[in-house]
């Protein structure tokens, strides 16, 4: 067997690609906005959403039981009257997205960060759902 070196980020990309294909197949990914990726970070779940061109105050985040709700609006930039559009691919408008998290949460400990157009919400797992190291008792 050939030895192939993949750096950790490449491994992640390969894994995400595989999941994208498995979840949506040739029909392609869903058109729900914003698209989200959900990760397991051991003690917490991490949800990332691509939300370029908004400011943190334009995003509302709610956590209730095992449900995360993201809502807000991506503003429309009104161009000046003399401008002609050659391409227009970037959408604008309102969004509301509900994401079910596959486990119990400590919802009052949720934290969110918005950086470079990506929203990251960290949702600590319920205490009893966190991985626990088991100590071996000396006899």
């Amino acid at each position: 067997m050939a030895l192939v070196y993949l750096d950790p980020f490449e491994q992640l990309q390969t894994e995400l690609d595989r999941m994208l294909d498995a979840a949506f197949g040739p029909a392609g990914p869903s058109r729900l906005f914003p698209p989200v990726n959900v990760f397991d970070a051991g003690e917490a779940y991490v949800v990332k959403a691509e939300l370029p061109g908004v400011t943190p105050d334009q995003i509302g985040i709610e956590v209730e039981d095992d449900t995360l709700t993201l809502r807000g609006e991506r503003p429309f930039a009104e161009p000046s009257r003399e401008a002609a559009y050659h391409r227009r691919e970037r959408g604008s408008g309102q969004f509301r997205r509900v994401v079910r998290i596959p486990g119990r949460l400590e919802s009052n400990e949720a934290k969110a960060e918005y950086r470079d157009g990506v929203l990251t919400v960290r949702l600590p797992k319920a205490k009893e759902a966190r991985p626990r190291r088991v100590q071996i008792q000396a006899a």
């Binding site: 750096d7 950790p8 980020f9 490449e10 992640l12 990309q13 894994e15 995400l16 690609d17 999941m19 994208l20 979840a23 392609g28 990914p29 869903s30 058109r31 729900l32 906005f33 914003p34 698209p35 989200v36 990726n37 959900v38 990760f39 397991d40 970070a41 051991g42 779940y45 991490v46 691509e50 939300l51 370029p52 061109g53 908004v54 400011t55 609006e73 991506r74 429309f76 930039a77 161009p79 000046s80 003399e82 401008a83 002609a84 559009y85 050659h86 391409r87 227009r88 691919e89 970037r90 959408g91 604008s92 408008g93 309102q94 969004f95 596959p102 470079d116 157009g117 990506v118 990251t120």
Partner: protein, 133 residues
């Protein structure tokens, strides 16, 4: 008028024309391009790209933009569910206008690149305004 509901635009992978030593996939950023009398404005969505991760290159009439994401943001994260691929961005354009290279301005904010490309004096002068007497 009520604002419309936003729809996600699935990210498209692109092949780089030249071979790169950097690993991983490249995606095509969604862009708006608009033109005024004096300049071209290009706006590109590149979520995850910091302001120091952008390269803009103009060679002849060929403009290319590249945005690199911070790969370290994913350390220790095991994917459970995925709706979008993660990687850098790349896109090329052929410009129909002469651009004043020294006047190009780029700004990266909240994952959006705004590029202002002023038209060269020569290109501006080609335009002849007819004034009514």
């Amino acid at each position: 008028m009520a604002p419309n509901e936003l729809e996600a635009r699935p990210k498209q992978k692109v092949e780089r024309r030249e071979e790169t030593t950097r690993p991983g996939a490249y995606f095509q950023p969604a862009v708006d391009i608009l033109e005024t009398r004096d300049e071209l404005v290009l706006v590109a969505d590149m979520p995850g790209v910091p302001s120091d991760g952008v390269d803009v290159d103009l060679e002849g009439d060929e403009l290319s933009i590249e945005g690199r994401v911070r790969t370290g943001d994913y350390d220790g994260l095991k994917p459970l569910y995925c709706e979008y691929g993660v990687g850098s961005y790349y896109r090329r354009f052929t410009l129909g206008e002469m651009i004043d290279r020294d006047g190009i301005k780029a700004q990266m904010k909240n994952g959006v690149l705004e590029l202002r490309l002023p038209k060269a004096e020569r290109a501006r002068a080609r335009r002849i305004t007819v004034e009514t007497a």
